[in-house]
């Protein structure tokens, strides 16, 4: 009996010491290629010489914005010949699937992964596991919590506060005497819409009042849900002066509700999309409204890919650590562009993206 206990205790202490050793080795982790910066001739500076497999993961890939973003990510990776294999996975809005996708990529042997962590902190443990397994892990756009160097290599955010500053500047110029603002955001609690609201509130004086739920009306960026919420808002608030939305194209099916209620469409500060721009153009004859858009940020993924590939292949790591989307269209000042509608292209094309509209139109066909 005694000898069996002793053996068990010895085994337990051996396992424990191995676990401790494993934990110890993960401290001060450095993923990717080490050594001097390398460069493949003719490729961008972030493209090093070590051959890698790159994974791109979406938490929810079910809309055209994501399709263009995914294609942009793939296009960016193709600029570097050292990326020999490219893999993609879509979590389809299911957090469990998003987590198992990340784990699956790690076990399939990718060297670097760029992840859109839609579920935020829920996927942090999976990201951390991936990072600790030595995979260069770069979450982008949505903040997953945690710290660079401990839970992942780097988070490449979109400077959403920058978008909100651009919107508030435009609102102050075009609706100068204050008014009622309705802010339509994404899924409840998402960090993007929350940051935007906080910045809007900070930059706009008290004469601008936020109506509806604060920080934002949660539309899930879904047109059907947007429509339901907006009908309730139009019914409830007789005066809406400005609508701010962080995904403009979802508004297209909802804006005609104003005309149905005998009201004019309020000023719109949002993000771009061909369907929205063409809707704006169609409305000019009957019910014109002011509109300003910031770029929807499809190119955020490019910076994340640059970073991940640079780190894994041994290329030059980019200095920028977040994507700043500029103003794209302004119907009033026409700066930097007037409203851009391309009727010959599908509505779900984003003319602000680096990828040309014609090329976007061919995606998913």
């Amino acid at each position: 009996m005694r000898s069996r206990t002793t053996v068990a205790a010895a085994c337990a202490s051996l396992v424990a010491s191995m676990a401790l050793a494993a934990c110890g080795s993960s401290g001060g982790q450095s993923n990717g290629a080490s050594g001097p910066v390398t460069h493949v001739k003719g490729a961008p500076s972030w493209c090093g010489t070590k051959k890698i497999t790159l994974g791109l993961l979406d938490g929810y890939g079910g809309n055209s914005w994501r399709l263009v973003t995914t294609a942009s990510g793939k296009d960016e990776a193709s600029k570097c010949p050292s990326v020999t294999k490219f893999r993609y996975a879509d979590g389809q809005g299911d957090t469990q699937k998003a987590i198992s996708d990340i784990k699956g990529m790690v076990s399939s042997g990718v060297d670097a992964m760029v992840v859109f962590p839609d579920a935020g902190k829920a996927v942090l443990p999976a990201l951390t596991d991936s990072f600790k397994a030595g995979v260069v892990t770069v979450p982008y756009r949505v903040f997953p919590g945690g710290k660079a160097g401990t839970n992942y290599d780097k988070w490449i955010g979109d400077d959403f506060a920058n978008d909100a500053v651009n919107w508030s500047t435009w609102i102050k110029q075009n609706v100068p005497n204050g008014g009622n603002i309705l802010f339509l955001g994404g899924p409840a609690g998402n960090s993007q819409s929350t940051t935007e609201y906080t910045t809007l509130r900070k930059n706009l004086p008290d004469s601008y009042k936020f109506i509806g739920q604060t920080p934002f009306q949660p539309t899930n960026w879904d047109p059907t849900k947007t429509q339901q919420l907006l009908t309730a808002d139009i019914a409830k608030y007789p005066k809406i002066d400005v609508i701010v939305s962080d995904f403009g194209p979802t508004l297209v099916s909802s804006l005609p509700l104003f005309a149905k209620s005998g009201r004019s469409i309020p000023a719109l500060a949002t993000s771009d999309g061909n369907s929205l721009s063409c809707f704006w153009q169609d409305q000019q004859a009957t019910d014109p409204f002011k509109m300003m858009t910031v770029t929807t940020g499809n190119d955020n993924v490019r910076l994340a890919v640059d970073y991940a590939v640079a780190k894994a292949t041994g290329g030059k790591i980019p200095t920028a650590d977040s994507f700043k989307g500029p103003v794209f269209e302004d119907s009033v000042s026409q700066q930097p562009h007037g409203v851009q509608c391309r009727k010959d292209l599908p509505g779900d094309v984003y003319l602000s993206a680096e990828m040309p509209g014609d090329q976007q139109a061919k995606l998913g066909k």
Binding site: G61, G62, N63, S64, R66, L67, D90, Q92, G93, A188, G212, Q213, P218, D222, P223, T224, K225, Q227, Q228, L229, L230, T231, A232, I234, A235, K236, P249, T250, V252, S253, L257, K260, S261, S275, P346, G347, D348, L363, G364
Partner: protein, 343 residues
Amino acid sequence: MATTLEQDRPQLAAGRTWASKGLVTIGTATVILFVLSALLDRASVSGTSLSGMLPIAAVLAIAGLGQMLVVQQGGIDLSVPGAISLALVVITHVPDGDSSKLGVAVLIALVLAVAAGALNGLLIGTMGLNPIIATLGANAVLYGVNLQISGGRPRITTRLMGDIGGGSTLGVPNSVFFAIATLGLVTLVVKRTVAGRRFEAIGANQRAARAAGLRVRTHRTATYVWAQLLYCLAGILVAGITSQPTAFAGDTFLLPSIAVVVLGGTSLLGGRGFPLPTVIAAVFLQQLVQLVTVLGFSAAISPLVQAAALAVGVSLYTIDWRSILARRPRPPAAAGAPAAGTG
């Protein structure tokens, strides 16, 4: 086996009195809800609010009628999300903005719906698989086809589809007319035709129906095809109502489609179906969601409201409270339960 027989009998016995119970209960509840809405916030019953609520309620009513047919056979259909999403993806993708191709798209959507229904029907009606497992699998298959066609990305609805599904006639959203027509058709077929009466008889008691020489297998298989056709119509309407629907837009209709059937008074154990109360329940549920939205409650309320409605519906119509209560004091229950069963 003995337990299913015991379950069937009290349902049949009590079925006739429960028909009016469902209509009266949900009808009264809906009237009370609208009065309450007007009192709490007039905006929730304004024309604008109703013009937003009714189209979604109409879609829910049509999907609910499909689900009702399945529930009448003692089944449950979890492929509603896949079916609705596939239909709207076909309707947006195939024409790709060209209204002249809309007819072809509708035809393809209908063919796919029949195929999906036949798959469900084959698995459940013919091979006798559990409906939950079979329809859950079919849902995955439908999403597979959906992603194959769309890559997860639906196109923008054509102008014609937008006018038909999203437009209105004499101030009433067109989708409402589709819901009324579907209600009329389902009521007529189920309640006024020989096939419909046989269909209900099979749902009420399969063994008795088989003994009476009815073609149980054929009817049960056909149920799933009819249901899929109704989901398909619901999906087509969603495509019309929303100009750029997501490829997963059907997901939000699963729980409510079951809730409206149950609230309408159809027992989850099968048997008689109640089309009109099901449609009223769809209006009730959607108005309830609209009211909590107008009142400014958090987004979390909406699924809670749907779940609560389902719980209330089940407790009202499906659970046999009388026999449960009769069973509580142990000694008399031994004598009481069989009496209820044979009565």
